[in-house]
């Protein structure tokens, strides 16, 4: 005979403001099996938990129902409470009367009625609960970081420092990511490459880190602690073990028309190339799409040039399969193509640039050697207009509804850099809001205005036109109640940033969820910001949401800490809610085996004692360490032999019954 205790939480006024908790308590007392019912202001507080513990002891409760917030919030808390009181933690059920009731209903009568029904369903379920114990599995002591930008590098370095092996998969031929393309960094104006390249070198040299550059994740199987990942190492056509990175071949390559990705296509590179001087690993790669040898079979100049004999035209993609305990998403971002905003003239005039292009234009290793000139004709500009929020905070269709977060600060940086280096160039910034929440950020923006005389105009540009070889910018100056018509030599668009498109396919392989904007969803937006809801998958950098460098690095290290915490564990406690098959009911038909995504079900011949009758039968057996408890098998099973612990057929039917009563 079960003795159930029901504990109704007020959650301050969050629940009690809309649900008459007293009436809920009264109602559930009448339910069969309920031996105790009480309400309390904060059931999750120490004293609330103590109330539960003492009630368990005093009334000899065998099961607990807590009517409170979502089980996603405090189910674990109350399971611990139950365990502390000597109950099996799986004898706890939560009735979600906050998120699913008090917060969405305004009428007390109605909300109270619903709360009672939800409580009844939980009671009906707990009456059919059985004590469960969890199994354990080993943890593979190796992590995979997907993406080799500053986020991935930092996460990998921290994990490696803690003594664990970690692999970085980067689709480009070098690690470094976006940060390598930046000139200076705000708000300190230190050189981006100067602070990034030592980390790239560290990552390349660290014996715990293995780099898979020019590589992509091909497939992912398994689950937390035991992922199996196949990585495709694309053929570089250059042998990594032989190439010395001397660069001879890149200079000799006769195919010179390929747009240089590193410089945002503002100059060209050879078909065999090293992305940039500080590349790690510094190994050449042949871009087969543009290589004359691969296109016509005629060239082979690089092969003849290479004294290390590293060129290998016959190289093929290589698949590497490894096991990992944890996987980190660090797939980063790209800038949107602002061509969708034709009014700004991007694509029509070469002097209209994105901020990232401008970044390269200012950089000493950039297409102009760091000389600020108009891309259209190489003239020295007199006036540069920056336009903020191009495609950010835009719900009209071609933009992004969110704030890209970094543009205000980098635009201030650009403005300062221009004014610092070329005091003769005037700078105007059109802004909607200047957002500078960050250490020394607002001070930096004020320096742009006060020390460098950057003109900040509150308003948006309506149209950029070409006139007399220059650009004409028509925009509003809201604070001065006028429409401006400014002549400019360059216009720089602070285009929105968006998650790198590869994130979507990788996330899909990891079964990690993605939000409507393509950013990775975190397990909890405030309390678990570096974990994906998928156990064993962690988030580092902009793949989770727009971030600047210090934030990215902070999150990368936080992410590493979480990974280290996982890899430190000797064993992982498994989900106790696993499938199990009643051999006496099993037909042996293999339907369940076919739908199991984890291969957790196998079949074996067993001798059975069927109510005194001995028979041998082919029956399903569930590997509890592998089963993740989805329940697909339970529905595939026609005889009902397969059931899911914690969510049994009887339990769910009982809930249905209680709700429909």
């Amino acid at each position: 005979m079960q003795k159930i205790g029901v504990f109704v939480c007020w959650c301050g006024s969050n629940i009690a403001g809309t649900v008459d908790v007293g009436r809920v308590v009264e109602a559930v007392r009448q339910e069969p099996g309920v031996a105790f019912a009480a309400d309390y202001q904060y059931m999750c507080s120490d004293s609330g938990q103590n109330l539960i513990k003492s009630a368990v002891k005093e009334h000899g409760l065998t099961g607990i129902v807590v009517c409170s917030c979502s089980p996603r919030m405090h189910e674990a808390t109350f399971k611990k409470t139950a365990a502390a009181a000597g109950l099996n933690p799986y004898m706890v059920e939560i009735a979600n009367i906050r998120e699913h009731c008090s917060w969405i209903h305004k009428n007390m009568e109605e909300a109270t009625e619903k709360a009672i029904v939800l409580a009844r369903a939980a009671i009906a379920k707990v009456l059919k609960d059985a004590p469960l114990t969890s199994g354990t599995t080993e943890v593979t002591k190796r992590a995979l970081v997907i993406g080799g930008g500053i986020a991935g590098i930092q996460t990998a370095l921290d994990i490696a420092e803690a003594g664990f092996a970690v692999d970085i998969v980067e689709k480009q031929p070098t690690i470094g990511g976006r940060m390598a393309q930046l000139d200076k960094t705000f708000p300190t104006l230190d050189c981006s490459a100067c602070i990034l390249t030592p980390k790239m070198v560290d990552a390349g040299a660290n014996e715990n880190i293995e780099l898979f550059t020019y590589s992509e994740v091909e497939s992912v199987k398994g689950f937390v602690g035991n992922f199996t990942v196949t990585i495709r190492k694309k053929a570089r056509s250059v042998r990594a073990d032989l190439c010395t990175g001397c660069g001879e071949c890149t200079e000799k390559c006769p195919s010179r028309k390929t747009k240089n990705e590193f410089n945002m296509g503002m100059d060209t590179r050879g078909a065999i190339y090293i992305p940039y001087a500080q590349a790690v690993p510094k190994i050449a790669v042949i871009d087969r799409e543009h290589c004359l040898h691969f296109k016509t079979g005629k060239c082979g100049l690089c092969e003849r040039t290479c004294s290390a004999k590293a060129i290998d035209f016959a190289q093929e993609d290589e698949l590497v399969t490894r096991n990992y305990g944890a996987i980190v998403m660090a797939t980063g971002f790209q800038m949107i193509d602002p061509s969708g905003f034709g009014e700004f003239g991007y694509g029509k005039s070469k002097d209209v640039l994105t901020s990232l292009e401008f970044e390269r234009l200012m950089n000493a290793a950039g297409p102009t050697g760091g000389h600020l000139v108009c891309p259209s004709d190489g003239r020295h500009p007199k006036h540069i207009v920056f336009i903020q929020c191009v495609g950010s905070r835009d719900t009209s269709g071609c933009g992004k509804p969110y704030c890209s977060k970094i543009c205000c600060m980098y635009t201030a940086k650009h403005a300062i850099l221009v004014r610092d280096k070329y005091p003769d160039v005037s700078v105007t910034v059109f802004y909607i809001d200047v957002r500078t929440p960050g250490k020394n950020f607002d001070e930096f923006y004020r320096r742009a205005v006060e020390e460098y005389g950057v003109q900040y105009v509150k308003g948006m540009v309506g149209k950029v036109t070409r006139e007399g070889g220059r650009l004409k910018v028509q925009g509003s100056d809201l604070l001065n109640d006028r429409q401006l018509h400014l002549e400019a030599d360059m216009v720089v668009l602070a285009a929105a940033i968006e998650p790198d498109p590869t994130a979507r396919s990788v996330a899909s392989m990891l079964t990690a969820s993605i939000d409507t904007n393509g950013f990775m969803t975190e397990a909890h937006p405030k309390l678990r910001p570096v974990e994906s809801p998928t156990a064993g998958v962690f988030l580092s950098g902009v793949c989770q949401g727009p971030k600047d460098i210090p934030e990215t690095v902070a999150q990368a290290s936080a992410c590493a800490a979480k990974v280290i915490g996982l890899l430190c564990k000797q064993k992982l406690v498994n989900n106790a809610c696993v499938a199990s098959s009643d051999p006496l009911l099993c037909n042996g038909c293999s339907s369940c085996e076919k739908v199991c995504p984890y291969g957790a079900i196998t079949y074996e011949e067993r001798e059975l004692n069927d109510k005194g009758v001995r028979r041998t039968a082919r029956v399903a057996v569930v590997n509890e360490a592998v089963c993740q408890g989805c329940g697909a098998c339970t529905v595939a099973c026609p005889s009902g032999a397969m059931d899911l612990k914690g969510f049994t057929n009887q339990q769910i039917m009982a809930e249905v019954d209680a709700i429909c009563r």
């Binding site: 099993c586 293999s590 339907s591 076919k594 739908v595 079949y603 009902g640 057929n649 039917m653």
Partner: protein, 325 residues
């Protein structure tokens, strides 16, 4: 017909003598001429074996129990029955190594209900002559065209291919009609929801829950049926309401969906003449239309449609919009 029966017996005898099997699963005379029943024959009793217009029973399901016994059993399978056995083998329900499957030809089986509806009363025996069935009755001879008496399923015969038999017995027989088996399903789909509801309510209300459909169905071969399991939550015994009563046929059709070979035994044995095969055929038609042609039992390697998917499968909502202008 006698000639074909003799041929079957002769081949069966050879097989028994060669040691390919130790006994024969076939049809034995029933209480009346029109209800031969499944039976197991030793070599000596082979002369009792019946094979005529009324040996409609699908013997596949009996292989589950027979294959568990000592020695090999020779089972006689009409083309459509062979798919049932193949499906059972695919589901590991039958020990295939204990079975010798002999595919035997079929000229379509007869429905005594149709004969009665055409005025055959007090029938004592029957014989077949040139596409006609001649009933000897208390009131004299009645002659009816064979085609008029064919079982519903035989009017939509799916042909003379066998699935997974060890050998087939060649014997020339006239072709059977090949009507569209989904015609009635499509006609129902065309109707309004009200009309369909009225149709099914009328049919399902006739059910007396005798379980004949379940007992005869080769796909309904669970070790224990959910309706007999008080733990399942659907068995009538466990409930005070009439869940099992009202939803039995939906659940039964659901449980055999993707596994049902459309052998039509359910409708044949229903004492209330409920067209139960129309439920199964609805699932088969949907599967064929939505996920590609699938015939249960035909391909031992093919994944059954309900334990399979493609990322491009249509959405439930889109499917319900079908035909809704």
């Amino acid at each position: 017909m006698r000639e074909l029966t003799n041929a079957i017996c002769a081949r069966a005898k050879e097989l028994l003598q060669s040691g390919a099997a130790g006994r024969v699963l076939g049809w034995a005379p029933g209480e009346f001429f029109y209800d031969p029943t499944p039976g197991v024959f030793s070599e000596g009793r082979l002369n009792e074996l019946v094979y005529d217009g009324f040996t409609a029973a699908n013997l596949s399901k009996y292989c589950i129990a027979e294959s568990q016994k000592e020695g090999k059993v020779l089972v006689l399978l009409k083309p459509c029955d062979s798919y049932s056995l193949a499906q059972l083998v695919k589901e590991h329900r039958v020990k295939r190594e204990n079975i010798y499957a002999l595919g035997i030809p079929c000229e379509g089986k007869l429905d005594m209900r149709k004969a009665r509806a055409k005025g055959v009363e007090g029938a004592l025996s029957f014989r077949e002559e040139d596409g006609q069935v001649v009933f000897e009755t208390l009131y004299g001879e009645v002659r009816l065209a064979r085609e008029e008496l064919l079982l519903e399923r035989c009017l939509c015969c799916r042909g003379r291919e066998y699935a997974g038999v060890d050998e087939t017995l060649e014997y020339a027989l006239p072709e059977l009609p090949k009507r569209d088996r989904f015609q009635k399903v499509a006609a129902l789909e065309e109707q309004t929801a009200q009309e369909r509801y009225a149709f099914w309510r009328g049919e399902l209300s006739k059910c007396i829950r005798c379980n004949a459909c379940r007992n005869v169905c080769p796909a309904c071969s669970c070790v224990q049926c959910v309706f007999d399991n008080p733990q399942s939550g659907v068995a009538a015994k466990a409930n005070s309401t009439e869940f099992e009563e009202s939803l039995f046929h939906i659940i039964r059709a659901w449980h055999v969906a993707g596994r049902c070979t459309d052998c039509g035994e359910c409708s044949r044995v229903c004492p209330q003449s409920i067209p139960l095969h129309l439920l199964n055929r609805k699932f088969i038609k949907d599967v064929n239309e939505l996920y590609g042609e699938y015939q249960a039992g035909a391909d031992p390697a093919a994944r059954p449609p309900l334990v399979n998917y493609t990322p491009e499968d249509p959405e439930p909502s889109a499917v319900l919009e079908r035909g809704r202008a």
